[in-house]
Symmetry: C2
Subunit: 342 residues, 2 copies
């Protein structure tokens, strides 16, 4: 009843050509003020909305972007609120710029055919590292991308990264400052060039700086999930006498860790200090509230959209700001406390 009205109908009713209608819609070409308002009125009345498919067929642009996030488990997006905050930022940013966002999970051998298929204007890619097959395929697509948390070495890529090394350093330094000497890290997978790698580098730097020798046994490469954290807690039980603090490279794993410790009778921060990473929204509401490395995730999503759109539209002084490094800060809360000899 209402979805069949096209530019042709408008033209017929307004007694002008479709070209004129098109011009009115796009504010291009030359058309008299009278005609403009006449056409616009009819457009209003008929609730005409130009067809996106027809448009993209013409100009090969879709005004669609996608946020691409790798699966961790098979076929399911990661159950980490971090992504939701990111997505919220992206959605908000996109909404300002009148583009829409497709949400896409990918696994290692994604072929990205949907990109061509839908003529996607650009991609916001989260956590895809340089040496992966997925990354190579992404490059061969030859479309605007903004890489988040990917730490690409090539400065030509548009990317937004946290200062992960600084984050790792900051958290560790904080614990050292509290008197802790045996500090474990729950890193997640330590791929060279990945976020966890850099955080770990920061951790090592802080240790060196304070003359604390590195103990490889203190690095737990468990999955950065809530369950991962929980499991590590069990293993820490046996190190009880040694480890007095843990630095988890994500808030969710810190949460799992704290709960796991609780379940084996260790309480935070009395028995063990814990520092997280990300500052997801309820870190400050949990009990104990979580000391963590703070980043503004929502803002990150918003910036990503802006960068992507600059790139797509060729606007923006993109030459300078290809690579954005977001600073981190330390949010000191209740989960970390001074070292006390037991």
């Amino acid at each position: 009843m209402n979805n069949k009205v096209s530019i042709k109908d408008i033209a017929r009713i307004a007694n002008v050509s479709i070209a004129t209608v098109s011009n009115v819609i796009n504010g291009k070409g030359r058309v008299s003020p009278n005609t403009v308002s006449k056409v616009n009125k009819i457009i209003q009345e008929l609730q005409f909305v130009p067809s996106a498919s027809a448009r993209s067929l013409k100009d090969m642009k879709s005004h669609l972007i996608a946020i691409v996030v790798p699966f961790l488990e098979k076929g399911m997006l990661q159950d980490n609120p971090f992504y939701w905050e990111l997505v919220r930022g992206v959605e908000g940013g996109a909404r300002h710029h009148e583009v829409q966002v497709i949400l896409l999970g990918i696994d290692e051998n994604e072929d990205f055919s949907f990109v061509k298929q839908r003529h996607l204007d650009g991609l916001i890619v989260v956590g895809v590292f340089e040496h992966t097959a997925a990354f190579q395929k992404l490059l061969s697509l030859n479309i605007p991308c903004v890489f988040l948390d990917s730490h690409l070495s090539n400065p030509d890529f548009h990317q937004i990264d946290l200062d992960d090394e600084a984050g790792g350093y900051l958290g560790t330094k904080h614990l050292i400052g509290l008197g802790h000497k045996v500090i474990g890290v729950l890193t997640g997978k330590l791929e060279e060039g990945g976020v966890n790698y850099f955080r770990h580098q920061g951790y090592l730097r802080a240790l060196r700086e304070s003359g604390i020798p590195e103990d490889p046994e203190l690095t737990f490469e468990e999955a950065p999930s809530i369950q991962g954290g929980y499991h590590v807690a069990q293993r820490i039980g046996s190190y009880k006498s040694k480890i007095s603090a843990m630095f988890a490279f994500s808030d969710v794993s810190a949460i799992g860790l704290i709960r796991g410790l609780h379940d084996i009778g260790l309480s935070v921060p009395a028995d063990l200090s814990v520092v997280g990473f990300d500052d997801i929204f309820y870190s400050q509401y949990m009990i104990p509230s979580l000391t963590t490395i703070r980043q503004d995730i929502v803002a990150k999503g918003q910036i990503a959209v802006t960068m992507l759109l600059d790139q797509i539209n060729g606007t923006g002084l993109s030459t300078d700001k290809r690579s954005v490094k977001i600073p981190v800060s330390l949010a000191v809360r209740q989960s970390s406390a001074s070292f006390k000899e037991i």
Copy 2:
């Protein structure tokens, strides 16, 4: 370099007409096995992918669905992991059926023009109630919708609802069973016909059943956010002597509540019992772990996709299963305990 290959190129190289190529792609029409394989080979080689815009221009289908969720704050999706779990379910379901998902936040006066514009095949709508302007506009779009948590009275609509009344009843009954008699509820907005309304009805039924008189002062209509919960805790402080248990109609508000109580020196469950609603992933890991009304949010998202696609494709025995009511269950954990006279 690689994105300009069209059906025409395939046709030229294979020495057949574009119609034949189209037939091969869609498995329609009559075409000899030889030709099929010849064409397919070339498609492979050239990495041809049919253009979605051209397709939808023809058949007015986009193979795109949207998940529509109302803003709470202005212009930003709600910071509640509940939505992320839902979105994860939807993405997973959609992926199985080769459709893609657009994520859309709306405010009260959304005009939904993007639906026509993009020829969206269908919508998964979360928490839009019957009497709202948005709902009316949605109806006038005349496209397949599945409504989640909307409790529409008209049985013709495709909808998935929780048995919210039962949830409200279950949680309250649990607290009563523990000996609590003065039980507050943190409801969120109590619009008639909304989820909170039904949960509240369940609460009232449980009270009646146990001969406990309703006290309107015990119903806190604060925002169902983590901050909302936190604020209510302050107000409860003054009721301290009265209230011995709180039932929050979302896990996030329960989290805020517990934290708020903690900050005014009340601990859960020693001083007050708290029950939540939703069972988001974090609830079982927090300290104390949260007694809550459990629903499988991810599954809800998956079911929604299936229902929507049945409706779109006209497949499915949709006549029977227009309206799905999902059962709830009680997950008893640590945040609720027996009533003790102080």
